[in-house]
C-alpha cells in the first residue's frame, strides 16, 4: 500500500490537485490537535458546571464551541447523558461515523465488523466484552449514527471526585467512556 499511496500523492501534487504542505498540516492536526482529550475537557466542564451541562445537553455544537473545539460550520452534535438508570452507547452500523472534533479519529475496533454488527443486536454482550456488566434494570440505548448527527456520551461522574479540578476530572474520561462502552474513571489509557 505504501508505494501505491506515495505514487498517487506525487501524481496529485504534480497535477496541482493537492498542496503537500497542506497535507502535512492536516496529518499534524489529526495526529496532534484533535483527540479524545477534547471530549474529556467537555465532559469535565459539564461535571463541574451545571449551567454548562444544561447548555451542552440542549445545544451541543454551541456548548462545545465555547471550549474552542469547533464543529461550528458543520457537524451536528448531540450529547447523551448516562445516569444510574440509562446507559447510552454509540455505533455506526453502516460505516464508521464518529465525532471527530471531540474524539479524534475512531479506533480500529469502532470501525470493525465485530463492533458494527453486534452493538445493535447484543449491546449488553458487547459491553461485557469491554468489561462493563450492567444491571438488568438499567435501560440501554444504542445510537446508530446513520445520518450527519454525531453523538458524544456524557458518562456518569465517578464517586469521590468532589474536590477535583477540571483537568483532574478530564484525566478520568476515556475515549471508550465517551463512546459509551466504558464508565468514566476506569480504563483511561494515554489519551
Amino acid at each position: 500500500m505504501s508505494l501505491r499511496v506515495k505514487a498517487l500523492e506525487s501524481l496529485l501534487v504534480e497535477k496541482g490537485l493537492v498542496d503537500p504542505a497542506a497535507l502535512d498540516a492536516l496529518v499534524d492536526t489529526y495526529e496532534n490537535k484533535v483527540g479524545p482529550r477534547n471530549g474529556a475537557r467537555v465532559v469535565a466542564r459539564a461535571w463541574s458546571d451545571p449551567a454548562y451541562k444544561a447548555r451542552l445537553l440542549a445545544n451541543a455544537p454551541e456548548a462545545i464551541a465555547e471550549l474552542g473545539y469547533r464543529p461550528e460550520q458543520g457537524e451536528h452534535m448531540m450529547v447523551l447523558e448516562n445516569t444510574p438508570q440509562v446507559h447510552n452507547m454509540v455505533v455506526c452500523t453502516l460505516c464508521s461515523c464518529y465525532p471527530w472534533p471531540v474524539l479524534g479519529l475512531p479506533p480500529v475496533w469502532y470501525k470493525s465488523a465485530p463492533y458494527r454488527s453486534r452493538a445493535v443486536i447484543d449491546p449488553r454482550g458487547v459491553l461485557r466484552e469491554f468489561g462493563l456488566e450492567l444491571p438488568d434494570e438499567v435501560e440501554v440505548r444504542v445510537w446508530d449514527s446513520t445520518a450527519e448527527l454525531r453523538y458524544l456520551v456524557l458518562p456518569e461522574r465517578p464517586a469521590g471526585t468532589e474536590g477535583m479540578s477540571e483537568e483532574e476530572l478530564a484525566d478520568l474520561v476515556s475515549r471508550d467512556a465517551m463512546v459509551g462502552v466504558a464508565k468514566a474513571g476506569v480504563g483511561v489509557a494515554k489519551l
Binding site: 506515495k6 498517487l8 498542496d19 458543520g74 479506533p107 443486536i121 446508530d144 448527527l149
Partner: protein
C-alpha cells in the same frame, strides 16, 4: 443497497479486538490516504453521500478483507478517475498526461485549521420545510430495498418505533449520493424497542435509536 456494509445484526464477525494505546495512524500511508481524501474533497467533485456509496461498491469479500484506510484508498482512486480529476492512464503511470495544465490546489496550509474540523454539512434549521412527524409519533420504517445508496439499515425496515428527537432539516442521502438533488427534509432519531427489532430474545430494557428521514417513515 443491501450491501455487506449494512451489517447491523450480523453474527459471526468474531470478537472485538481493542488495541491499547492505539496510534491515530498505524502506518504513514494511512494518514496520507486520509488527508489526501480530505484535501481532494475541497474540489467539491463529490459529496459525502457519493463518497460513502463508493465504499459500499467495494465487492463484499474485499470489503471485509480490507482495512479501513485501504477502502479509503480504493474509493479515492475510483472517484478521482470517475470525476475526471485524474485519468485512468495517469493513475496507472503515476505521471500527469503530457500537456496537461497544472492546477492550483484549493486547500492551502492557512485553511487547514478551519477545514480540518469542518465537514460541510447542511444547516439544520429551515422553517420552510415542515416536519411530517412530531415527537412521540409512532412510525414504521419503510420496507425499501434500493440498489442505490440508502441510510435506512436493513434491520430497521418494516419495524415500528417512536419519534424521539427532531434534528431539523437535513440533506437526503438516497438522492444526494446520485446527483439527484439534496431533497432536504426532517431527520429524526427514532426509538425502537430491541424486541421489535430482534424478537423475544432481546432485553425489554434495550432500545436502539436510528436517525431516519421523513422519506423513510410511514405513520403507524
Amino acid at each position: 443497497m443491501n450491501g455487506i456494509h449494512d451489517m447491523g445484526g450480523m453474527h459471526g464477525m468474531g470478537p472485538i479486538e481493542v488495541e491499547r494505546d492505539e496510534p491515530v495512524f498505524h502506518e504513514e500511508w494511512e494518514g496520507r490516504t486520509f488527508v489526501m481524501t480530505r484535501a481532494i474533497g475541497m474540489w467539491r467533485k463529490w459529496n459525502i453521500d457519493t463518497g460513502r456509496f463508493h465504499i459500499e461498491l467495494i465487492p463484499p469479500a474485499e470489503y471485509l478483507r480490507m482495512s479501513y484506510y485501504e477502502k479509503w484508498f480504493v474509493r479515492l482512486a475510483d472517484l478521482l478517475v470517475k470525476t475526471g480529476l485524474v485519468t485512468g492512464e495517469e493513475l496507472e503511470t503515476g505521471r500527469p498526461a503530457p500537456g496537461s495544465v497544472r492546477a492550483t490546489p484549493p486547500l492551502t496550509v492557512e485553511q487547514v485549521p478551519a477545514v480540518a474540523l469542518n465537514r460541510f454539512l447542511a444547516p439544520s434549521y429551515e422553517p420552510g420545510i415542515p416536519p411530517l412527524f412530531h415527537l412521540g409519533d409512532q412510525v414504521r420504517a419503510r420496507n425499501i430495498n434500493p440498489i442505490g445508496h440508502t441510510r435506512l439499515p436493513r434491520y430497521a425496515r418494516g419495524k415500528s418505533g417512536c419519534v424521539a428527537v427532531d434534528h431539523g432539516v437535513h440533506v437526503f442521502p438516497d438522492t444526494n449520493a446520485h446527483g439527484l438533488g439534496e431533497n432536504r427534509q426532517h431527520l429524526y432519531s427514532v426509538r425502537f424497542a430491541a424486541r421489535e427489532l430482534w424478537g423475544e430474545q432481546a432485553s425489554e430494557r434495550d432500545f436502539v435509536y436510528i436517525d431516519l428521514w421523513d422519506s423513510y417513515l410511514d405513520r403507524v
